[in-house]
């Protein structure tokens, strides 16, 4: 009786094959994660519908064709912008020139007065360079981030990034981000 077994295949080469594949994927892998400034565009609107915003509630930031920054009717430097924006968003002294404060109920804070109707309107020329525009965007977002950080440190004793999600939401609601990237205009 021939009780023949099937010959066992030689498996010593699987390691080599796997190594080859491994080296291939090692070389083609790009581990870099994409980073950037995330923004949300407003949905398309009809051309003739114009939103009415009170003058005290808007901060117009203009970036000219030669990359200079105009804010509230005067030329400013980039480093000034963050503080101007912060004061505008917070309106610490309840000034009549800065955005109106309205009472709002937010979790963890209860009823507070915040400058909810404020809008920062970012306008630019067609010839403005992209890097300048991004500098300005960056400063404006930095203003919001600093305010949120200060608030969360003051009330929760933690940085904004270390808060859990409901707390983060509450802080974000306290300083809602309202940057309007205006429709292009010709001057």
């Amino acid at each position: 009786m021939g009780n023949k077994k099937l010959p066992q295949p030689n498996t010593s080469s699987t390691a080599d094959i796997a190594f080859l594949l491994l080296i291939f994927f090692l070389l083609t892998t790009t581990m870099d994660t994409d980073t950037g400034i995330t923004r949300r565009l407003p949905p398309p609107v009809d051309e003739d519908v114009e939103q009415k915003v009170e003058e005290r509630n808007t901060l117009v930031v203009l970036v000219s064709y030669d990359n200079r920054i105009m804010c509230e009717g005067r030329e400013i430097e980039l480093w000034e912008l963050k503080d101007i924006a912060k004061e505008f968003i917070e309106n610490p002294n309840n000034s009549a020139k800065l955005p109106k404060k309205v009472p709002v109920t937010i979790d963890f804070f209860g009823e507070v007065e915040i400058t909810k109707p404020h809008v920062i309107s970012l306008q630019n020329d067609r010839a403005t360079k992209y890097w300048r525009y991004m500098d300005v965007q960056n400063e404006l977002i930095a203003a919001y981030n600093e305010l949120r950080d200060e608030l969360s440190l003051r009330t929760f004793g933690k940085a904004y990034a270390d808060l859990d999600e409901p707390h983060q939401k509450a802080v974000a609601a306290y300083y809602p981000q309202k940057i309007s990237e205006a429709e292009p205009k010709t001057y």
Partner: protein, 158 residues
């Protein structure tokens, strides 16, 4: 006759290599799963601006890329040196963006479509005119979540 036999083979015992392939396979699967093969070859030169307030882009499958910059050396003769838009592997005009977004959206799962993000990889010396046109096109295409791709800047180097 002693009870303790001395081993005849005094050399170093050979290592068992059979688990080697398992280890290698584990590495292999790891790299296979993190590899993203869809890397378009850039036809435009994109040097993204620097920023400090940046966040990471999660979930690569939800991201669509739009590149804006000047054509690179190989394409300069054909396309000139004016700023151009690149979608996937070809040059495009602003009015093609809406179709492109619709097409990309269509290839996503339905439940993923609202989370679609458009990553704008724009060269830092681009003029805002073309960027505005692209933004308007994206608004019309209802691709509202965008990400201005930028590098991290050290605060000290400012």
């Amino acid at each position: 006759m002693s009870k303790f036999k001395k081993s005849k083979n005094d050399g170093v015992p050979e290592l068992n290599m059979s688990s080697l392939s398992d280890i290698v396979f584990m590495f292999l699967f790891f790299f296979m799963s993190v590899t993203t093969m869809k890397e378009v070859d850039l036809k435009v030169v994109v040097d993204v601006p620097q920023a400090t307030e940046i966040s990471k882009l999660e979930k690569k499958s939800l991201v669509t890329y739009i590149y804006i910059g000047k054509p690179n050396q190989q394409n300069r003769a054909r396309m000139g040196s004016e700023t151009r838009i690149q979608l996937n592997d070809r040059f495009a005009e602003v009015d093609e963006i809406q179709d492109y977004i619709a097409q990309e959206k269509g290839s996503m799962k339905e439940e993923d479509q609202p989370f679609m993000t458009v990553s704008l990889k724009i060269d830092k010396d681009t003029q805002m005119g073309i960027v505005n046109d692209v933004k308007q096109a994206l608004r019309k295409a209802y691709a509202l979540k965008i990400n201005y791709s930028s590098k991290r800047r050290d605060n000290t180097a400012q």
